[in-house]
């Protein structure tokens, strides 16, 4: 595929204006989204706990987020004496910027069926409904989610205080661990779609629900991606980074005023972005039936609805699940998700190669699963041996108890 048709005829001032306006629109969507997401989360969690939730600022408490934002701006901005001032000031921005930048590669609408390439025509120019479409879109996503670690890590480290430091150490370990599972599950999508560009991935899923990567990759990468994404977002049940019972506030303990607000903003921005990415990679982005009227609106509507489902799910997770213990978190990441996504990637790879080379599908599948089972047995055996050699570890009975569940 080619790139965005906006750049096909060279770059003049109209194209520059287009890009600026698109960036502004994207930014407004995320900001307004964050405002409503915070309100939505508080309301839904309140509902799940038989409370009312915010209901004072504006109708149904809709103005609560704005009121909180204004309050935060006018609060005193404290900087601890022992903090590293420059990094302390820089960290919130490092946290917010990747969250927004990731959203720029999400196509929020467009028609991809019937020979259309998802472009819309505005003022005689054709463009795609996403701020940017780098040819390495998925790599950009992974790069940005790696950068997001820096915001949190530096925030905790520069605070010059023990709890933030512990929080940021946890954050770094957790986010780096789950980054691997996240990346490996995305590779399956890339393999099926045959492109790294988010636009092409969405285009490859257009037409029918069977084309969606959720179905095309048989669901496992989707499940892994969702779990890993929740861990990347540091949202419950993976919010060990903030764990207020143990670490006060984790990495943002020492932050106050709007700097704290920016971490809050980044967290919810990331939630929205990650939901949008899940929809884009696995659920066909704006794909969906057109019932009546202009088809361009239906794309946006379906996209919004799918994102809403995931936003609700994130809140639902928070309202339901208790926090993971740290060793359980690492077990899940390293011993389950990474081997599973790696194995599944091999199966999907074998099937694609087999299809291209004209092998018998049954033989391919059987061979792939046989290799998978051998690999799984080897992994379990290796873990057992490691445990026998290492003897009793510091968790003693606790670890044995989880082992009983695992096998």
């Amino acid at each position: 595929m080619t790139g965005d048709p906006l750049f096909a005829e060279g770059v003049d001032w109209v194209v520059v204006a287009f890009v600026v306006v698109k960036a502004l629109i994207g930014f407004s969507i995320v900001m307004v989204g964050v405002i409503f997401m915070i309100w939505f989360e508080r309301k839904v969690v309140a509902d799940m706990q038989n409370r009312i939730g915010p209901n004072r600022a504006g109708r149904w408490g809709l103005g609560q987020t704005l009121a909180d934002g204004i309050k935060l701006i006018f609060k005193e901005d404290l900087k601890p004496d022992r903090s590293d001032k420059l990094i302390f000031r820089l960290a919130p921005y490092l946290s917010v910027a990747p969250a927004f930048l990731t959203f720029t590669i999400v196509p929020i609408g467009g028609v991809f069926t019937g020979g259309n390439d998802g472009a819309v025509e505005i003022f005689g120019r054709r463009t795609w409904m996403q701020v940017a479409d780098p040819p390495v879109g998925v790599l950009f996503l992974l790069a940005m989610s790696s950068l997001a670690v820096y915001g949190i890590m530096l925030a905790g480290w520069s605070s010059g205080s023990k709890y933030p430091l512990l929080g940021s150490v946890r954050a770094t370990a957790q986010m780096v661990s789950y980054e691997a599972a996240l990346g490996l599950s995305v590779v399956a999508v890339v393999l099926i779609s045959g492109s790294l560009s988010t636009h092409d991935i969405v285009a490859a899923q257009a037409g029918s629900i069977a084309n969606w990567n959720l179905i095309a990759t048989a669901g496992i990468p989707f499940a892994i991606f969702c779990v890993a994404a929740t861990a990347e977002l540091n949202r419950p049940p993976f919010d060990l980074v903030e764990a207020e019972q143990e670490l006060v506030g984790g990495f943002h303990t020492e932050y106050s005023s709007i700097r704290f607000g920016m971490f809050y903003l980044a967290e919810f921005m990331n939630t929205i972005t990650m939901s949008a990415i899940i929809v884009t990679l696995f659920l066909g982005g704006p794909a969906g039936p057109v019932l009546f009227g202009p088809d361009i609106l239906w794309g946006i509507l379906w996209f919004t609805l799918k994102v809403m489902v995931f936003l609700f799910t994130f809140v639902w997770l928070r309202g339901t699940l208790p926090r993971f213990r740290y060793d359980q978190l690492m077990d899940l990441g390293w011993k389950r998700l990474i081997p599973l996504s790696l194995g599944w990637l091999l199966v999907i790879g074998a099937i694609s190669v087999g299809r291209d080379a004209g092998w018998s599908r049954v033989v391919t599948l059987a061979g792939a699963f046989a290799v998978g089972i051998i690999a799984w047995a080897a992994l379990v055996g290796a873990l057992r041996v490691a445990k026998l050699r290492g003897g009793e570890d510091e968790f003693g009975d606790l670890t044995t108890a989880t082992d009983g569940v695992k096998t």
């Binding site: 509902d47 799940m48 038989n50 009312i52 639902w316 699940l321």
Partner: protein, 207 residues
């Protein structure tokens, strides 16, 4: 379902009734023996019940009551009997509304209404004096500007009558019932009470 049961539990709650009430607009009915702001009662002839004995101040665990008694002026007595409480102060920054003062009072002069929504802007305002605590001539508590009286807050302020009546008459020994309230009459007897309220006509000349 196993691992997923919890999700159903939380989802179910969304459709259930809210426990939280929208407090300032919507208030729950208070319990009938709610302990709130005190009132100093009068007899039906307008005499104050307080005799300045300081038992309430003595029993108060928070030490928030300050009472000084004085001899009644013979030509214009404030209370029936010898003495009256010419200083009566309650510091509501200390009061814990335990109702021990009400228990201790031999004449049921001090009782508690159901008002708890009152606030002050400085410490001296928190000290209620005799002139603020005393009920009016109709027996109703005074409504001060910073207090938020609601329907029914002023009712049922009367205390238990002791086994012996305030005037010490042996005829009332073993009887438990409500004492009368100026302006409200006598509360209906509850379970375990004799249902034979103290004759209110005697109150004026007792103590």
């Amino acid at each position: 379902m196993g691992y997923l049961d919890g999700f159903w539990v939380t989802l179910k709650q969304v459709f259930q009734e809210r426990v939280t009430s929208e407090y300032p607009q919507e208030k729950r009915p208070k319990p009938i023996r709610h302990h709130g702001r005190h009132v100093l009662n009068r007899y039906q002839d307008g005499m104050e019940k307080c005799i300045g004995c300081e038992l309430c101040a003595g029993v108060c665990p928070a030490r928030c009551i300050y009472v000084r008694g004085a001899d009644n002026p013979p030509e214009a007595p404030v209370s029936p009997g010898e003495r009256w409480g010419f200083v009566y102060e309650i510091n509501y920054l200390r009061c814990i509304h335990c109702d021990l003062c009400v228990e201790a009072c031999p004449t049921e002069a001090i009782t508690e209404s159901k008002l708890f929504e009152f606030s002050f802007t400085n410490r001296s305002d928190a000290i209620y004096t005799r002139s603020e605590l005393l009920v009016g001539d109709d027996g109703r508590p005074q409504t001060l500007p910073w207090e938020d009286w609601r329907e029914g807050d002023d009712q049922h302020t009367s205390a238990w009558m002791r086994a012996t009546s305030p005037n010490g008459s042996a005829a009332y020994e073993g009887r438990v019932s409500w004492s009368g309230e100026l302006g409200y009459g006598v509360r209906a007897p509850e379970a375990g009470q004799s249902g034979d309220p103290r004759p209110t006509t005697e109150e004026g000349e007792s103590a």
